[in-house]
Amino acid sequence: MAIRVITEKCVGCKLCIPTCAQGAITYVDKKAVIDVIKCNYCGACIDACKKFKAILIEIDRKVSDQDLSLYKGVWVYAEQRNGEIASVVYELLNEGRKLAEQLGEELSAVLLGDGVTCQAEDLIQHGADNVYVVDNPKLKDFQDDSYAMAMAELCEEYKPNIVLTGATAIGRSFIPKVAVMLETGLTADCTQLGIDDYTKLLLQTRPAFGGNLMATITCTNFRPQMSTVRHKVFKKAAKDVSRKGKIFTKVFADDLLKSRTKLIEFVKEMESTVNLSEADIIVSGGRGLGEAKNFALVRELAELINGAVGASRAAVDAGWIPYSHQVGQTGKTVCPKLYIACGISGSIQHMAGMQSSETIIAINKDPNAPIFEIATYGIVGDLFEVIPAMISAIKNR
């Protein structure tokens, strides 16, 4: 593996320098110089130098001993808790359907749990051609060991081409273990998926650096190609009760599904009446609220429009609201249809967690607050006047 600048071809245009996320390129004697210690071989500079072709990368990659042509089909992990299918699953079925059709392959869902077989038809009606079910009392509670083992075994046996999982607390916990078991690549928290026309590879696009950069990633030489996918980025699949599909019930030995960790109890947090990551509407409060009791205003607006309550780090750190409400890189990444930021100035970390929301309303006293940069509607004003006005405008129609 090597990267170098062909000095004869480099015209010293400096176009490559800002594209380097590692800051590895400097300008010395009117030529680009790459610091190979800092370089992570991402190839961004090569893209920037298409015109002059002055940067050359030679990559030595491990070749797979898998017969890649055996791997067929798009799989969606049908996450469930207490028998309830997570909403992201329907989004994945919709997107997975498109990918499967582009590839001319089938779409399948994987259902793991205890007493969950009854959900299989629902997955078929939402677009799955096949459902692989492992229904076993050992899978009653989500545990990394047992779920990862079941998933990896199914992949070994049926050899899917693509495996999509929601980027949820559960998905992001156990799928990385599955990828290691299968020794294949996994791309985290994707916000765009596509199929390359020529190579037929899955193009997995995800934010990095807190959303300031996007990267498109492929898993070229290994199968399955695995991604976790962010909530709310894709539309839900429509239900068609006439759809037919096949259900494959797999029986695994209890021994295979044993878990080293065990669940003692689940504690539902009272404040989280609406699940933040799955909410269509979120009203968030920040430092501008001034004190804890003023969160009542945010709650009132949220309740009125069926939204969940979010918060900035500043509000959580001040102890006004529990951490489970924190939106941002340190808290939860959300992608609702409507996000209302009240008294939140918009730190990079906060915006990283909500900037992919469809519609953003920002309410802030300071017209220069960074949050206005990403807002669909920016309202400059005192939130103690704006929120009550909004509440009454919504009530009086």
Partner: protein, 265 residues
């Protein structure tokens, strides 16, 4: 109790900004820091040692300058630091990184708990922690917000795992790998004594050969994922402030468009 903390050195993201003229990432003068999420892991490790005795060893994979991150960890109160560094590791994705860290931890020998931050601030994947656990074949619990209890003799641990709608209390055997979230503690600042110790600290460096890494599993060669394109996202915001003489007028306009797009009734 032997506690290993897997940490990462990342660019201090507060200074990462987009140049609106060229639409590129401004990285000038970016200082390197310990991944903020790993600070909670280091703090929790020190607290475990204060309670149960033992040793806190921080381990990191990175270029030679990543030693600075280990020094900061020593200044906070860690006992030792290991730097896994070799040109052969360059270009590692999460599969190769978790393999390399697992091999480094294996070389360290006995451990009871491995702690990591929930994810790194730059890559945001949250995949390396569970990856290390799988390579080492030890149990893993993500999103830990509290360590309730450790039974040293029975070699078990009880923790709280944050879920999307609450938390779960889980019990598991030692050794175990836990990824921790911010709620778990408030990281301490560097002490004067720690700073003195850090000043003279030299990290033990492990090379690819030292950890007996299989060349097929490290660096770019051992990385199944390939970054094809890196680009700056287009911002969806219109950057337009709603005009209006009064608050009611501004709010009225916004609520009308929300009604139009059926976001509110």
């Amino acid at each position: 109790m032997n506690i290993v903390v897997s940490i990462k050195q990342v660019p201090g993201t507060t200074k990462v900004a987009i140049n609106p003229a060229t639409n590129t990432l401004i990285r000038a003068g970016v200082e390197a820091i310990i991944n903020p999420f790993d600070m909670y892991a280091i703090e929790e490790a020190i607290r475990l040692r204060e309670k149960f005795g033992g040793k806190v060893t921080c381990i990191t994979m990175g270029p030679p300058q990543a030693e600075e991150a280990l020094k900061s960890a020593i200044a906070m109160g860690a006992d030792d630091g290991i730097l896994i560094s070799d040109r052969a590791f360059a270009g590692s994705d999460t599969l190769a990184t978790s393999y390399t860290l697992a091999m480094g931890i294996k070389k360290l020998g006995q451990f009871d708990v491995i702690l990591t931050g929930k994810q790194a601030m730059d890559g945001d994947t949250a995949q390396v922690g569970p990856g290390i656990a799988q390579w080492l074949n030890i149990p893993f619990i993500a999103w830990v917000k509290k360590i309730e209890d450790v039974k040293k003799d029975a070699k078990t641990i009880r923790v709280e795992r944050m879920m999307d709608d609450g938390y779960e209390v889980l019990e598991g055997p030692l050794p175990i790998l836990l990824s921790v979230v911010k709620e778990i503690n408030e990281p301490r600042t560097e002490s004067l004594r720690g700073k003195m110790k850090a000043k003279n600290f030299k990290a033990t460096v492990f090379s690819a050969k030292d950890i007996e890494a299989d060349p097929d599993f490290i660096g770019l060669r051992g990385s199944p994922t390939i970054v094809n394109r890196v680009f700056v996202p287009v911002r969806s915001g219109k950057k337009e402030l709603v005009e209006g003489a009064t608050v009611e007028e501004k709010v009225g306009k916004v609520v009308a468009s929300l009604r139009e797009s059926k976001l509110v009734n």
